[in-house]
């Protein structure tokens, strides 16, 4: 069970409300795309699920974010445990300035795993899952910073997968990449959804249409429309959605 859900979530940066009463649920082994113009709150919404907003001073959140039925904002929940179960890939590839091997192994080490064999096996498996193994298998000891941008982003995906999360969040994972790397990551998303629930923020309409099962359209902190991707792109219910996906505004 990897069910994810939000119930009437409101989020404020100081006095400014960035998310307005958002309730959504996500099915397991689905890819959900969050789309909308800049500043609409989709990235903020994505960061609810691994409590990344906690890092910002002055954020207040009410409502519930449920992972397998449990509110991850409850006071008895350790934020580190949430982040182990909800991996994240960021907009700009952000590998650590360490070796390729250590980048992937890092999540295991900080979670107290010391078994060398297990760590090695997990690194290999994660790199294979992220479709990077063939390119780096002979240079695991090289610095991650020597990889190309697209390879770095797949390394970041491998790093997120190594701790075996059930949900993977992706915040515009392709926006800093060239078209070939972009295509590789999209292919990878197709593969990954067999095992994971994936929530992806994207500014690229074609990408949303290609990779996602369901799509949610956000506008100024509100969820305007959430439906099957096919429906959203062929038969949107709201005029705003229609205008956005056809490029008339945003």
């Amino acid at each position: 069970m990897n069910k994810v859900e939000t119930k009437s979530v409101n989020l404020f940066y100081g006095a400014k409300q960035a998310l307005k009463n958002i309730s959504m649920s996500f099915n397991e082994n689905n890819v959900v795309a969050l789309i909308g113009p800049s500043g609409c709150g989709k990235s903020t919404y994505l960061r609810l699920f691994n409590r990344m907003n906690d890092m910002i001073d002055g954020v207040t959140i009410d409502g519930e974010v449920l992972l397998n039925g449990k509110n991850i904002y409850a006071s008895n929940v350790r934020v580190e445990d949430v982040r182990k179960r909800v991996g994240m890939v960021f907009q700009k590839p952000n590998p650590f300035p360490k070796t390729i091997f250590e980048n992937v192994a890092y999540g295991l080490r900080v979670n107290g795993i010391t078994n060398k064999r297990f760590i090695e096996e997990t690194v290999v498996r994660s790199l294979k899952q992220a479709a990077l193994w063939e390119e780096v298998k002979d240079e695991l000891k090289k610095s991650a910073l020597s990889l190309s941008g697209g390879q770095q982003q797949r390394l970041c995906i491998a790093r997120a997968l190594a701790v075996e999360p059930s949900v993977v969040l992706m915040d515009e994972p392709c926006s800093a990449l060239d078209p070939i790397s972009n295509a590789k990551i999209e292919e990878l998303i197709w593969e990954l959804k067999k095992k994971y629930t994936i929530i992806i923020v994207t500014h690229n309409m074609q990408q949303a249409a290609r990779v996602s099962d369901r799509t949610a359209f956000f506008y100024i902190g509100e969820l305007i429309e959430y439906n099957d991707t096919k429906e959203i792109f062929t038969n949107p219910k709201h005029e705003r959605t229609q205008n956005y996906i056809t490029g008339r505004f945003g």
Binding site: D57, M88, V110, A160
Partner: protein, 285 residues
């Protein structure tokens, strides 16, 4: 010549004039420095020998040496660093990674910046009142090192904060995203990445401590010492005080001793700076 050509010619002339002024500035600074070095070397180089490095000071200039000041400086620098570095880095980590960016934080920030600019004699007076008198540490090596620690701590805090701030936020996010705690993130990423810059700040701060004289004269470090400090409670002297003492003598021979001690002090500082550069280059790979 039309208007545009005239304008371009003017700009070219200005460009060259500015370049000349900048070069003159550089040459002037270099000239003064070289003059100083030349003078010191001319007077003092003949005094640099084993006898000078291993003797205590004496009423007879030709028998006098700098061992007490050299060892005193060395002890004081080590002790000062041992006190100021952990506290300084700790304070900087707290301010950058833990404290909220509110009014109190800003007040603390401004105060630290101001403390870095406070004249060193004021730290001397503080050390005299706090460590020498109130803590009854007397004019000991410990009291001197504590006073010096206060003096260089703001410099270390500011340098460390700058270093920590330059670590990309993406690294923090990436670390937290796989379930690291704050401590793990700081220990595995923030400190290692910022280490070369922190080290540079520490060495600069220590170089300053080596050269400072006023605070230690204020707390009463001795000027005529013929023993090495045995423990933290020993009285002591340092090279700059030794130099100050010799310079104030009328005899030419003591002036030469002072020049010799200055050469050793310069070499000491140069050595520390070289170590810093080597370490920084090694770690920033």
């Amino acid at each position: 010549m039309n208007h545009f050509e005239l304008h371009a010619a003017k700009q070219r002339a200005k460009n060259i004039a500015f370049q000349v002024i900048a070069i003159m500035g550089l040459l002037f600074a270099l000239f003064v420095l070289l003059l100083l070095l030349f003078n010191v070397l001319k007077d003092g180089l003949s005094r640099i020998n084993i006898q000078f490095l291993t003797s205590y000071t004496s009423r007879h200039a030709e028998q006098a040496g700098i061992i007490a000041g050299l060892v005193g400086t060395l002890y004081m620098v080590i002790l000062t660093a041992a006190i100021a570095v952990p506290i300084g880095i700790g304070a900087a980590v707290y301010l950058e990674e833990y404290s909220k960016k509110n009014l109190l934080g800003r007040i603390i920030e401004i105060n630290i910046a101001n403390l870095a600019g406070v004249p060193s004699i004021v730290y001397g007076l503080l050390g005299l009142g706090l460590f020498v008198r109130w803590f009854s540490l007397d004019r000991s090596l410990l009291a001197g090192s504590l006073t010096m620690s206060l003096l260089i701590m703001p410099v270390i805090i500011i340098a460390t904060r700058e270093a920590i701030r330059s670590v990309p936020n993406g690294i923090r996010e990436a670390s937290f995203a796989v379930g690291s705690t704050k401590l793990q993130t700081i220990w595995h990423h923030i400190l290692p990445i910022s280490f070369p810059s922190i080290l540079t700040g520490i060495i600069l701060a220590i170089s300053r401590a080596i050269g400072e004289t006023a605070p230690l004269i204020t707390i009463g470090a001795l000027t005529y010492v013929t023993f090495l400090p045995k423990d933290l409670n020993s009285s002591f002297t340092i090279l700059p005080i030794q130099i100050y003492n010799w310079v104030s003598r009328p005899q030419q021979e003591f002036q030469e001793n002072a020049a010799g001690a200055i050469i050793v002090l310069l070499a000491f500082t140069l050595l520390l700076n070289s170590i810093a550069i080597i370490l920084r280059n090694r770690f920033s790979k």
